[in-house]
Subunit: 361 residues, 2 copies
């Protein structure tokens, strides 16, 4: 078959080298006689796998001392509850920035556990930008300040890390985790569902400052208490072993690619090509996202003539360019170009877009 | 290397045919050009995978109409909270049977959300038996009656399905799910962590009678509300797609093996061989579990001379018989012989046990 480029927003394309290694190891990991799926999570072999995964992630992100790295389940959606249940810590309210679909869900869930103060919202302009921090109405007494660094559906990405002062900064980094350098020390807690830049779904990575642990509200289920998982090094119960193994392979692959710094350059180049194809199309393609806040991970765009949407998707598919249909909430097109999307995929898409515009323009 | 037989209590051995198919499909599932891990969970391909998995499971267990089958995350440990949070339904208490380590954890967690009435406990005799239902102190007004059909650590298995009258019967079936025929119509809710008889860890299967949905207590996190997942056909958020795919392959394999009925015969034969080796060893090996309640899944036994434990484990390992050390809570040995353990593995173990007893007896 034609080589396929998969622009899915998640679960998403994984590095070919990672899948090839997983394939080779499927029946017998490193001479153990077992598949990773068959290993006791408390056995020597898997302990080595999870240890290496954590160490590689710590190295990739330069996680400072005083932070726990947790491998949990339930996706970012479960974090929407775990964050307030664990971090409200007796305070009455938390600050949230509303930049789109995923922030809204985080805000809705948090509201069930405490008062949410929306410090800024981009809803006034269809979630097409990141509100300037100068206008945020932050509460210096807030339990924490939460934001979504990249809105997968809207295609909006924070070009800066907010300054939260003494308030712990919490970030849903699901869709741009490990895609650019960040200073972990600026954060109280970072969480990221795995199925975009880390590995398979069914795993969520949490990086949390240790002083924030141990204050879960009464009635928090044991499995939703960060302290429980931190005390047990993510082994309170059986963790999602195979997704952790694949994540570990992705981390090793990232190190070989020049780490997060290498990825950031690669991602910038890919996004640059694609946005250039959109903005130089004489209006055949367009994006509603403010230039400074355009996502390097999810490139959201529209065709001038909406009636061509289906043709575009079908023709692209014939070229092996799949999963380009935009999320139903915003319509149009979306090309997700996470770390594992090779530049050849983006070039193929840009080439196709040019031809399509020429044919139908 | 020597062919290995893995007696791990979970994650545990998987059918070779399943792993071989997963290996063949790793880079390109059925000509899709994608690994299953790379597929959008809402795409046609994965929708087919999860649909087939559900239908095969329904067929294997003859799940009647009026029951939802859910593929969730968080393992049985998260179910320990979800069950009371969803099923107390305004009632004040729930009934629990205490047959060992896992019942105790379920009871402890449920106690955080309501009153728990322990209707019977086998703690008086070191959790070596299942209390006769004649002596249970059940509350006809209980929200539900909970039991653990197989205690993975203690090696005790219910030889009967309790009669709960009009009270919904809830079962943690993690370690004997799909190992014998059961009448799902007798249950209000069944849950099972995948990593014993279903597939990889990171997946928990829930089968729930529809009339029990929709009554989650206030403060239940959205992700812990069965109704939310039932309404979305397990797609409220991204499900653990790869574990679901592997579970689906296991379900197909089970159908080829004669279904649950075929497995029950196979499991009975395996357990019979092993218990015979123990009870006919003139006391060199022994099991503390009452004869009628001996688990067909986790065969727990001791050596007469505890000082030989380490030698036994080391010698067994040399023969490719691994993960035989008992759980630290009970000591001794444990051979977990789930569906996927071939009879050759049990025969090899029995052969080794005979030789070892001969040498050291």
């Amino acid at each position: 078959m034609t080589k396929l480029f998969n622009f899915s927003a998640g679960p998403a394309v994984l590095p070919h080298a990672v899948l090839a290694e997983a394939q080779a190891d499927m029946l017998d990991w490193h001479g153990s006689g077992m598949s990773v799926m068959e290993m006791s999570h408390r056995g020597r072999e898997f302990m080595e796998i999870i240890h290496d995964a954590e160490q590689d992630l710590r190295q990739l992100m330069a996680v400072p001392a005083g932070y726990k790295v947790l491998f949990l389940q339930g996706g970012a959606s479960q974090q929407f509850a775990m964050v307030p249940m664990n971090l409200l810590a007796g305070k009455t309210s938390a600050d949230y920035v509303n930049t789109g679909h995923w922030s809204k869900l985080a805000i809705k869930e948090a509201s069930r556990f405490g008062k949410v103060n929306v410090v800024a919202s981009a809803e006034d302009r269809g979630f097409s930008y990141v509100p300037d921090q100068g206008v945020w109405q932050c509460d210096p007494e807030a339990a924490y300040l939460h934001y979504t660094s990249n809105e997968t559906i809207g295609g909006v990405q924070f070009p800066f890390v907010p300054d939260a002062g003494k308030v712990p900064l919490v970030c849903d980094m699901s869709s741009d985790f490990l895609s650019r350098e960040i200073d972990v020390a600026k954060f109280g807690l970072i969480y990221a569902g795995a199925q975009k830049n880390i590995g398979p779904s069914g795993l969520v990575v949490v990086i949390v400052r240790e002083d924030l642990l141990g204050q879960a509200m009464p009635g928090t289920p044991t499995m939703l208490d960060y302290q429980v998982h931190a005390n047990a090094d993510s082994m309170y119960n059986t963790p999602p072993t195979y997704p952790i193994y694949i994540a570990g392979l992705v981390f090793k692959w990232l190190k070989e690619q020049g780490g997060v710094k290498g990825m950031a350059a690669h991602n910038g180049e890919k996004a640059g090509l694609l946005y250039h194809a959109i903005t130089s199309s004489n209006g055949f393609y367009s994006t509603h996202v403010a230039e400074a806040d355009r996502s390097q991970m999810n490139v959201v765009f529209r065709l001038k003539d909406e009636a061509l949407d289906e043709v575009f998707v079908a023709e692209a598919k014939k070229r092996g360019l799949v999963q380009l249909k935009g999320h139903r909430v915003v319509g149009g097109m979306r090309a997700s170009i996470y770390n594992a999307m090779p530049i050849e995929g983006v070039k193929a898409l840009v080439g196709f877009m040019g031809e399509f515009a020429h044919q139908h323009g």
